[in-house]
């Protein structure tokens, strides 16, 4: 450990680095200011996409995810990541393989072919839960790191599905009305707002976005109606895939259903970056499909 920094192997996945690189940049910088150091996990792949890969063949999903875990085992470090889809693959496969000898043996037979072995020696965390955990960071430390409070903004939270559910294979407790991400939002000086059916899915998962876009967007649109009802200035989430569904999805909703919401969608790390004084350029907010300006005008 360098100094008193908590070090993690930073698993990137696909959508953050390849579509919203601001999320990646923000994660690295914001975490540093609260005592967390994210080190590159070299050679990581797609987690792989739990919807597409899990649906085709769960055994491939186990083996591919295990390979990513082994890369971190070789670094002797726990994994931190910033995407719920990645969490589903990397956390859950790690969890399953630690507790299921038959599956672990099966995976190791495949990994042997590439001179790797899954040992089950590390843990996997979402950066958001590390931010919330007082043993690592905690809400107070987040609050203390703020230089530009997001005062006067109303922010709604989308938790996403795969971070906390299924709850029996997680450690988050209640999945009906959790409030811990709201606490993290309030720590930035913003006001978190509640809306109908908060825990509903964004509509993208399980391969549905690719299989039937209209169906998928209709689920998103229901969320958008509920968000508009409470007058949120922005939506925050902890998953680049949910972000893509809400951000690009609003453009697609406009095309397909003729409704224009214009609600800025920001990953919690981007929001934290803004509150820690990072500029919109440092966060590549211009890559967002929905213009973040109306939100930025309230805080800059």
């Amino acid at each position: 450990m360098s100094g008193n920094m908590h070090q993690y192997a930073f698993f990137l996945g696909c959508i953050a680095p390849n579509r919203y690189p601001g999320c990646e940049a923000a994660a690295i910088k914001t975490s540093q200011r609260v005592g967390i150091e994210l080190l590159p996990l070299k050679g990581g792949s797609c987690c792989p996409a739990p919807g597409a890969f899990g649906s085709i063949d769960l055994n491939v999903w186990y083996a591919m995810a295990a390979r990513n875990v082994v890369l971190a085992e070789q670094m002797n470090m726990d994994i931190a990541l910033i995407c719920n889809g990645c969490y589903k693959s990397i956390f859950e496969v790690n969890h399953i393989l630690k507790h299921n000898d038959e599956l672990r043996d099966g995976v190791n037979e495949v990994l042997k072919e590439i001179d790797m072995e899954y040992k089950g020696s590390i843990d996997v965390w979402h950066l958001a839960e590390l931010y919330y955990d007082p043993a690592i960071c905690g809400v107070d430390k987040i609050r203390a790191s703020i230089t530009r409070p997001l005062t006067g903004t109303k922010i709604a939270v989308h938790y996403g599905c795969h971070l906390m559910k299924p709850k029996k294979e997680r450690h988050f407790g209640d999945t009906e009305n959790p409030m811990w991400i709201e606490e993290l939002v309030d720590a930035l000086g913003a006001e978190s707002v509640q809306y109908r059916n908060k825990m509903q899915c964004c509509g993208a998962g399980g391969g549905v976005r690719g299989y039937d876009l209209t169906h998928s967007l209709d689920i998103t649109n229901e969320k958008m109606i509920n968000l508009r009802e409470v007058g949120a200035d922005a939506l925050t989430e902890v998953c680049p895939f949910c972000q893509l569904q809400y951000d690009r999805g609003q453009i697609e909703i406009k095309e397909k259903f003729g409704i224009d919401y214009g609600l800025p969608v920001l990953h919690y790390n981007e929001l934290l970056g803004l509150a820690q004084g990072m500029s919109p350029q440092e966060l590549a907010l211009d890559l967002h499909a929905i213009d973040c300006k109306p939100f930025l005008e309230k805080i800059l």
Partner: protein, 194 residues
């Protein structure tokens, strides 16, 4: 068709006819396979409907998760695997968290999708994702607009994943080849001229 009970008494046959429990298109192995692949206890379902009631896909389609669980229990393999609704589950796990029998209906769907794939029933976009991962390691690969944006952020043009370290790609290909995934994806897409 329901199986005839052959009591030799038309009135009894009519009174005790069971249309759903045992039909000649029911595969007794199906339930066992679904339970093994999905690591679930589908047979414990008491058809309460909590799963369908929790499902974001149900109100906007004919997809009913409770029906799929029933099909698992009854062994109605063909009916389940050939129903296009099988692919409308977003895997949100709401049903799984709420099911009073702790059955994990979501994992029943995942198991059925795995079995469907063995019959080449699979949405084409899933196969294309698999092909992309085979060649790049990523389901959503980098592009030039994004490379330029990364550079401006002070990040490497390609992330330190298989993009930055392509020497890891052969290992990934070996894993996918072990399960013949690329081979099957190529074959299925080629059969359709894609």
């Amino acid at each position: 068709m329901a199986i005839e009970k052959n009591y030799g008494n038309p009135q009894l046959e009519e009174k005790l006819r069971d249309r759903y429990f045992y039909t000649d298109d029911s595969n007794p192995e199906f339930l066992a396979n679904v339970e093994k692949i999905g690591r679930t206890i589908a047979h414990m379902c008491f058809q309460c409907g909590t799963c369908t009631g929790s499902c974001p896909s149900a109100p906007r389609s004919s997809y009913r998760i409770r029906l799929f669980v029933r099909r698992a229990v009854l062994g109605l393999e063909d009916e389940a695997l050939t129903d296009p609704d099988l692919w409308l589950c977003t895997t949100c796990y709401s049903c799984t968290d709420r099911c009073p029998r702790d059955i994990a209906p979501t994992d029943i769907i995942m198991a059925m999708r795995n079995l469907a794939f063995k019959r080449d029933i699979v949405p084409r976009n899933f196969l294309k994702t698999a092909q992309l991962i085979y060649t790049t390691g990523h389901g959503v690969p980098n592009n030039d607009v994004n490379r330029a944006a990364r550079e401006k952020l002070g990040l490497t043009r390609d992330p330190p994943t298989t993009h930055g370290y392509p020497e890891f790609i052969p290992g990934i290909q070996k894993i996918l080849d072990y399960y013949k995934l690329k081979e099957n994806a190529d074959r299925i897409l080629a059969e359709e001229g894609q």
